[in-house]
Symmetry: C2
Subunit: 96 residues, 2 copies
C-alpha cells in the first residue's frame, strides 16, 4: 500500500534538528522523498507498523507532528504535481 | 472532495520567501493548514481548478514544488497522526 508521510519537526533546538535528521533517515528506509518533509512509502502493513513505531520513538510528541495518508492501490491516479519534480515511480523506472 | 496540498518553495531569496507566503495565503482560502507546508482542502472540482491555477501562477516552476493528493470521499479513514495535532474536522467541530 502507498502511504504518504508528512512531518513537521520543531528545529529550534539542536535536539530538534537531530530529531529531524532521524525522522528523514527513517523514512528513507521505507520510501522516496518527494519534498523536504514529504515521503511516499510503498509498504505492507507490517512495514508500516514498524515505520510508525520507530517514528513515534523519535519525535517529541508535544512539539513535532507526523501525518500518514493512506493513498490506496490506485495511488498513481491520486497525485498531481506542479513545478520541479523528483518524479519517480517506485513500481517502475525513475521518471525524469 | 478532499485534496491534500503539500509544497516546497525555495526560500533562498526574498522573492522565494514572498512566493512561500503567497502559496500559504492562497491555500488558506481553500482549506486547513495541518502542518507548515501541508493543507487539507475540501473542494469541488471547480474550486480545485481555481486553486491549482492560482498556485501555478505563484510558484517558480524550476525551483518550487506543489503536490496534490486526492484522498477521496473516505478521506477521514485514510489519515493517521502522531504528535502535536492542529486536529480539526472540516465537516464538523474543531477537534482539540
Amino acid at each position: 500500500m502507498m502511504v504518504l508521510v508528512t512531518y513537521d519537526v520543531n528545529t529550534e533546538t539542536p535536539e530538534g534538528r537531530r530529531r529531524l535528521r532521524h525522522v528523514a533517515r527513517e523514512c528513507v528506509n521505507y520510501g522516496q522523498r518527494v519534498q523536504n518533509s514529504v515521503f511516499e512509502c510503498l509498504v505492507d502493513p507490517a512495514q508500516f507498523a514498524k515505520l510508525k513505531h520507530s517514528l513515534a520513538g523519535i519525535i517529541d510528541k508535544e512539539r513535532d507532528s507526523v501525518r500518514f495518508y493512506f493513498l490506496g492501490a490506485n495511488w498513481k491516479n491520486r497525485v498531481e504535481h506542479l513545478g520541479s519534480n523528483t518524479g519517480y515511480d517506485p513500481e517502475g523506472l525513475l521518471v525524469t
